[in-house]
């Protein structure tokens, strides 16, 4: 079992561009959450997807959007990139049947640098 995988591992973009980050959940997991971790900060919840719909959302602007596919994989899209969007983006997956935070597994993250 590969666990949660994310691609790409690193990415450099310029201000105003758009970016798409990808996440494949752990086998057997159907719920995907995305977090942003800025340098020196803890992860901040962006949103969660279940059954291809956004189920919960944190305090992030509409520039941040997502999608979940029928195979449970997910994408995070960020439009009109700002310098402040530079961060490590973490994906976490969990099985909806348990409803336990302990069963939430995190991927290694995608490090985004906006110049």
């Amino acid at each position: 079992d590969a666990g949660v995988t994310q691609s790409p591992t690193h990415l450099i973009k310029t201000r105003g561009q758009q970016v798409t980050l990808r996440c494949s959940p752990k086998s057997g997991h159907d719920t995907v959450s995305w977090y942003q971790q800025a340098l020196g900060q803890g992860p901040q919840f962006i949103f969660q997807y279940y059954e291809e719909e956004e189920r919960q959302r944190g305090n992030f602007p509409d520039r941040f959007s997502g999608h979940q596919f029928p195979n449970y994989s997910s994408e995070l899209n960020v439009n009109a990139l700002l310098l402040g969007d530079s961060a490590l983006y973490l994906c976490a997956s969990s099985p909806s049947v348990t409803g336990l935070q302990e069963t939430q597994y995190f991927g290694p993250g995608t490090r985004l640098l906006v110049l």
Partner: protein, 113 residues
């Protein structure tokens, strides 16, 4: 508005001694608390959790204490081992099963051999 705070950015402890990591929160709606450990280039991994109805939870070398009136929790690691060197995050949720977590800023623990 930092609802979960870890005021010590770093901590160094001698191998074999006790490591104590602290966490404070401000939102009284938080009902469930977790500790995560993070190594470089890896995602956070779940360590231990505690519900607000308890004041202590133990799992091997790891014990979490919760003081609800003070809105304070702590993670004790004893004895500390070199492999415990990592960044530790405290996280909180409004209820058990809600995966929307609010994280603290982390404490980098270094175990000195």
């Amino acid at each position: 508005d930092q609802q979960v705070k870890q005021n010590s950015p770093s901590l160094s402890v001698q191998e074999g001694r006790i490591s104590i990591l602290n966490c404070d929160y401000t939102n009284s709606m938080f009902d469930y608390f977790l500790w995560y450990k993070k190594y470089p280039a890896e995602g956070p991994t779940f360590l231990i959790s505690i519900s607000s109805i308890k004041d202590k939870n133990e799992d091997g070398r790891f014990t979490v204490f919760l003081n609800k009136s003070a809105k304070h929790l702590s993670l004790h690691i004893v004895p500390s081992q070199p492999g415990d060197s990592a960044v530790y995050f405290c996280a909180a949720a409004i209820d058990f099963g809600n995966e929307k977590l609010t994280f603290g800023t982390g404490t980098r623990l270094t175990i000195i051999p």
